[in-house]
Symmetry: C2
Subunit: 415 residues, 2 copies
């Protein structure tokens, strides 16, 4: 490694080992749950199994407009046509007390209750209306035809949705059909977001000031929300031990995960690691990860609350979040966060650094032959445009020096 910054770290930890250690350290943390109306439950994670409290449908229902009949009456069809007597109607949205007896038919609508005695519904299109309330049928009615049976969709007592399921539109529909009003959901993890750096300002009033607009809080908060958690913005903190410790204390008390960007390395002004260690045990679990970018990343746990010390460059902060923050949010939120990926053909060779997991930003371009992954021009962590112009990233693994052009690569989408 020809990077002098590495020398400042006692040792670098492999990405997979670092992540495993970080996740393991919060294993004793309880997943919290909350009761919410189903109208607010879209995309949320079930905290417990849901058992069907009623049959769906609650009666045998017709799925067409037509006549409810007894299939047994049709035994002599097709040799002789069948004439049935209309004896009433099952009205949509009303109870049905009538019964179909031998050679009788009762009119039904799509969704109305199939009367007692009937086991088949003949669609109105197959019926000829005769005078004096009779109907003529020339096609055999089969048992069960055009009927959805009581409990056919859902039978009472059955587990219909499992703990850990992420609720989709149809799942909400099912809950509503079951008469569920409120539902126990895994609480969204609260993630505190802090930026540190004496050069940082919220808005730039004068370009020559040497100040820099803090964009990490906005980027990280937005990534946090996208990952299904709640971002808690705790502002900008200057590079002063006291201020940092105060901010971190507040963050630990009010949230399930803390993201603090800037000051994560080993320089004089990199105060985060020592501040974190001052707050309590076990403190820093990992400091320095064998990855590019984002090598100066720290992973810590204080009072059971996980803390990620992210590098200050926005690009590095993003990769540190994607690699460690997203899986941690998934763990705290009881959900499996799946990255969207595409398989593509690498257009140009890319180099990695032996022993490091290297993240190469790429753009995707569809050609008649293949989906091409083209590395973006600048891969510097100081160049935000490398993330703006990228559609995703590929990984050069620790045991490889490079990936050759025309190789098939898995692109994780940045979207």
């Amino acid at each position: 490694m020809n990077c002098s910054r590495v020398e400042g770290f006692r040792s670098l930890t492999r990405v997979d080992i670092a992540l495993k250690r970080f996740l393991k350290a919060v294993e004793s943390r309880q997943v919290k749950s909350e009761l919410l109306p189903i109208s607010k439950a879209a995309g949320r994670v079930l905290a417990a199994d849901v058992v069907a409290s009623r049959d769906l449908p609650s009666h045998d229902l017709s799925i067409v407009d037509g006549f409810a009949v007894r299939s047994i009456d049709f035994e002599h069809l097709p040799s002789e046509p069948l004439v049935l007597k209309r004896v009433g109607e099952s009205i949509l949205g009303k109870p049905c007390k009538a019964t179909v007896k031998r050679l009788q038919a009762i009119a039904v609508s799509t969704g109305s209750i199939v009367p007692m005695g009937a086991d088949s519904v003949v669609p109105v299109e197959d019926v000829t209306f005769l005078p004096r309330g009779s109907v003529l049928l020339t096609i055999r009615a089969l048992c069960g035809q055009n009927i959805v049976l009581k409990g056919e969709d859902v039978s009472r007592g059955k587990v219909v949705l499992k703990k850990g399921a992420c609720l989709r539109p149809q799942d909400l529909g099912l809950l509503k059909a079951m008469g569920v009003g409120k539902i126990s959901l895994v609480a969204k993890p609260r993630v505190a977001v802090i930026s540190t750096g004496s050069e940082l300002v919220e808005t730039l009033h004068k370009a020559s000031s040497g100040q820099i607009v803090d964009i990490n809080r906005l980027i990280l908060s937005s990534l946090v929300t996208q990952s299904g958690a709640v971002a808690v913005d705790l502002g900008i903190v200057k590079d002063r031990k006291g201020s940092i410790i105060t901010a971190l204390k507040r963050a630990i008390e009010s949230s399930d995960l803390v993201l603090v960007s800037g000051g994560s390395s080993v320089g004089q002004r990199d105060l985060i690691p020592s501040c974190v260690n001052a707050l309590g045990k076990p403190g820093m679990l990992v400091h320095g990860v064998a990855m590019r970018p984002s090598m100066p990343t720290g992973l810590a746990v204080v009072k059971k609350t996980p803390i990620i010390s992210l590098p200050g460059f926005p690009v590095s902060a993003m990769f540190a979040f994607l690699v460690f923050g997203r899986p941690m949010i998934g763990k705290l939120g009881g959900m499996r966060i799946v990255d969207r990926t595409e398989t593509a053909v690498l257009a140009d060779p890319v180099r990695g650094v032996k022993g490091f997991r290297t993240f190469i930003r790429v753009t995707l371009r569809k050609t008649p032959k293949a989906l091409l992954a083209e590395p973006v021009r600048s891969q510097k962590s100081s160049v935000l445009m490398s993330m703006i112009s990228a559609d995703g990233y590929i990984i050069v693994p620790e045991d490889a020096n490079e990936v050759l052009a025309n190789h098939s690569v898995k692109v994780t989408l940045l979207s």
Copy 2:
């Protein structure tokens, strides 16, 4: 086709033709835009190009803690070590007025301005401190080393984000860095959601009532939100012409797209098509689509507002929405909605209906050999559980009768 309901339709339109006709009919509709603060812009679509209003960074900045030097001073290295005189410090977050002259060095921090005269930064790790404010260097400093140049990331006047782009966390960061406070975004389409059916109720008080809990509004509203639009719930309407026309009028006036479920077929109680036609021109463009489920779907435009008449069964309503509603929302919202897909191996053969596009719900199961797509037991449109247990769906195209087991299939995820 051995389904008598088909007979009621004069003709069925192929899915692709129906969709094309529907989208074409709203071509003259203007995409609306709105000005919003960037903090509310995540996931939203840009209504115009964004041009960089400043250089990023606004000065040459150091990316390490170290010393700003002139690379030309190093010309005799490595033959003789170099001693430079410290003449000041560029403080983080402050302007820098000092200049580096011949055989001088100025201390810099990560992120501080590189002083005039300097073209290289030597990391502090490579420096030996000498008495009386001098520093000793034994490694050559290369021009440009450890400096991010003014405008290197973004140069003023350049288009940095294009109209139609969906804003990601890093894009918001860039906007903030540019000093952008509010941004012109495509307005989210407003989608009115109506359920029709005299049997429908909001909550079931008595199971024997013959009433059915309306779940389509909840499911469709949730799908609408998921697709990036705003759902406007206009409630349940009874199967009465007057009520339906009143509700549709209100919907057309207040929204960009209308979804009305129930009463979409050709029976006596299927009032939507005639009500839509009574409201204005061109009215129904398509009634009856060659697809399974959701065949009794209607597509209409009245006073430039698109209307989808969806079948009442929740499963059918969902497929009608996925096939026609999502692309229409994409068009109205100026965005390309991409479905998430997986390639899998079909576990069991599935049948289609010749001439129809058939949607088969499947579950996905990972095996050591492959990702398996297993068709769910019941494919009936009356069975909501077919959507609950499904992870996605595959398509049997119009010109196929079946897809054989072990074939590779594209699964569109329902998530």
